[in-house]
């Protein structure tokens, strides 16, 4: 039943993305509205899925690649809904739905079994550290998505009034992302001192989180310099997304270390 809810949500996201794209191409507002409601339905299902999984596992569903990717996708969806209703930006759905679907598709490719939390992860920092990382990645992903839209809109009409708004939104999302990533890194350091006796071990995950942090800190500084705005920073936000994805997926896949909790070797290394 749980898996059915998950895949039903994924299918709704896919159909929503398809309809949204078709609505944009054929200029059918009704289609994009239907797409949005389908997305909301998919989001509701994913919320139910994560809650049910958390209840079944007796913990927050954030312990492995599947659960983190699901939470990551959920966080993109939550940010998207917040921006749509609270900040009244309807255009954001065109990039947000696709990003939500793509990350959830990645989750669907991962092993989905519910496993017991290993001792190394049984800490009060668990939800704080990993939850803030999911929100941070989601904000960066959405910022990159808006960057793509910025470039497309600018190519069509460089005087489009929404460009300035998009530039501002990229900035605000990156600001949110870097705040959450700072919390991730600092809470992780405090947790690491409790678990491994050292605040920082230069583990690949730590190093790439730092690289991601620096890359976005540079973005904020470049934006302070008012000469660097618009397309340059939109491209910057787009090109930074692969770094985020590498920190999330690449490091866990090709650079085993203390954070590779999905791997047996890491367990024996730790204990």
């Amino acid at each position: 039943m749980l898996n059915f809810i998950f895949f039903a949500g994924l299918v709704l996201y896919f159909v929503s993305m398809f309809l949204q794209f078709a609505g944009m191409v054929f200029r059918r507002t009704a289609w994009t509205k239907i797409a949005w409601f389908m997305f909301l339905a998919g989001f509701a299902l994913e919320t139910v899925y994560l809650l049910a999984r958390g209840i079944a596992a007796h913990r927050l569903p954030l312990s492995n690649q599947f659960e983190f990717a699901s939470a990551f996708s959920w966080a993109i969806g939550a940010l998207l809904i917040f921006c749509y209703y609270r900040l009244h930006v309807e255009w954001i759905q065109s990039v947000g739905i696709a990003a939500t679907f793509l990350i959830l598709s990645y989750a669907a490719l991962q092993p989905m079994e519910i496993t017991e939390l290993m001792p190394a992860l049984r800490s009060s920092w668990f939800g704080f550290h990993i939850g803030s990382a999911a929100i941070s990645y989601a904000a960066f992903m959405l910022a990159g998505g808006i960057g793509v839209r910025y470039i497309i809109v600018q190519k069509k009409n460089s005087a489009d009034s929404s460009l300035e708004q998009m530039d501002y939104f990229i900035y605000r999302l990156i600001a949110l992302g870097i705040l959450m990533l700072t919390i991730t890194i600092l809470s992780g350091a405090i947790w690491a001192e409790e678990a491994w006796s050292s605040f920082w071990t230069w583990d690949p995950k730590e190093v790439w989180a730092l690289i991601t942090w620096i890359i976005y800190a540079v973005y904020l500084h470049l934006r302070l310099n008012r000469k660097r705005r618009g397309a340059f920073l939109a491209w910057y936000a787009i090109l930074s997304v692969p770094v985020v994805l590498f920190t999330f997926i690449g490091v866990n896949t090709i650079m085993p270390g203390l954070h590779s909790y999905g791997m047996i070797e890491a367990v024996s290394h730790f204990m």
Binding site: P119, I178, W202, I215, S268
Partner: protein
């Protein structure tokens, strides 16, 4: 000289340093760090000399990485000092200038009224002079960027101290035994368990720390994620192992001994048992042949002691299970169940480093929060229009635009 100093304190220099730190970090994540020299010779046969020459095998402790971190700290010091001076100069000036601001935003009387309502709803302070109302809030937001840079500077410095100053040692201790540290501190291991009462993996030691002045921690549980602190010491549950145990009896006196590698247990130095190895179990094939399991993944399902019996000049290799009794002249050995023991990490940290570091972390997070979410608001509204001022006017300008857009929608524009 002045230009050089200006460059050292510039944002450009800071960004160059960050770029170089990113470059080093990428290299450090690709090349194995702190490995044995032969590792590099084996994995990088064409580059190992370059790796050693450029200290790429320990890039994060190389002289140039430390130099980069030091220069970044210097840049942050300059940034922080310049920033606080600039803020103290600009803050009152920007506010005062708002009273003579030329209106920039186009809005009619009704729209200006809505902007006023919006600013009042946002709980902005209002001051009026010569027909111009200046709405302001979030004064603390001016200091966000300063606190972020100051917090980052303190965090880097204190992280460095917290990482390299503590003395760390890893030691094993069998249950019932004690570790005596250099300063006389005693750590007594009462017991160790791998699983809790529900069968869940748990890895917990019960220890008592006795400081040189006699103060005791009492029995405390140390487990993964839950170290125990006492004085300047912090004790971590780091690893575990399994050791054999035997009871030796002679003339009514008995003693229980842990069997470490290659122990010889004898009363006369000639006759006794040479302990060789403890195996976690064995498997028996269809033909009835048994093979000892060498894996030490943790569980000792059917432990087997392998030893050499030395008796009257002869040496016979033998095996025994827990409960087996071996008699060697007047000595009686009873093999007992193996015992699991903890490996503890003992860390001695200079006092106050961790609390200071926590303070720095909080300053940095607070600074970031103030920078991003409590940006100063200064809006001058008069009958002829409005003007947005302050270091980061985009946020409030966005809110005002929302008001104007809603008004235009109402009017059907």
């Amino acid at each position: 000289m002045k230009k050089a100093v200006q460059f050292f304190q510039s944002m450009t220099f800071g960004l160059i340093l960050l770029g170089l730190i990113v470059l080093c970090s990428v290299i450090g994540s690709v090349i194995v760090q702190n490995g044995e020299p032969m590792t590099y010779v084996r994995y990088y046969p064409d580059f190992y000399q370059i790796i050693f020459a450029l200290q790429l095998d320990h890039i994060f402790t190389s002289w140039y990485f430390i130099l980069l971190a030091g220069l970044l700290c210097l840049n942050l010091v300059f940034c922080s000092v310049i920033r606080i001076r600039r803020i103290s100069r600009q803050k009152p000036a920007v506010y005062e200038a708002a009273f003579s601001a030329v209106p920039e935003g186009n809005a009619d009387g009704a729209q200006l009224e809505k902007i006023r309502e919006k600013l009042e709803a946002m709980h902005c302070r209002k001051e009026e002079r010569n027909g111009i109302s200046v709405y302001s809030k979030n004064d603390f937001g001016w200091y966000g960027s300063f606190l972020t840079h100051l917090g980052l500077l303190l965090t880097i410095v204190l992280f460095g101290i917290a990482m390299y100053l503590p003395k760390v040692s890893d030691q094993i201790c069998y249950p019932g035994n004690s570790l005596i540290l250099d300063d006389g501190t005693q750590i007594k291991v009462d017991s160790f368990r791998i699983e809790d009462e529900t069968g869940r993996l748990d890895y917990t030691s019960r220890i008592n720390i006795i400081l040189p002045d006699g103060r005791e921690s009492g029995l405390k549980e140390v487990s993964v994620n839950h170290p125990v602190s006492m004085g300047r010491y912090k004790i971590y549950q780091q690893t575990y192992g399994t050791v054999g145990k035997v009871r030796a009896e002679r003339n009514g006196a008995a003693d229980e001994l842990y069997l470490e590698s290659k122990d010889f247990l004898s009363a006369d130095g000639k006759n006794g048992i040479w302990f060789d190895e403890l195996y976690p179990g064995f498997i028996t094939d269809e033909a009835g042949r048994s093979t000892l399991i060498e894996s030490t993944s943790g569980h000792y399902e059917n432990p087997v002691y392998v030893f050499t019996l030395m008796l009257d000049g002869s040496a016979d290799m033998m095996m025994a299970f827990p409960g087996d009794v071996i008699e060697v002249n007047d000595l009686t050995f009873t093999f007992l169940d193996p015992v699991e023991y903890p490996g503890l990490r003992i860390k001695r940290t200079p006092a106050m480093v961790n609390p200071l570091l926590l303070g720095a972390v909080l300053i940095m997070t607070l600074g970031l929060y103030l920078s991003m979410y409590t940006q100063p608001v200064i809006v001058a509204v008069s009958d002829s229009g409005y003007a947005v001022r302050g270091p980061k006017p985009e946020g409030i300008q966005y809110e005002i635009n929302q008001v104007l857009n809603a008004d235009q929608k109402e009017k059907g524009v």
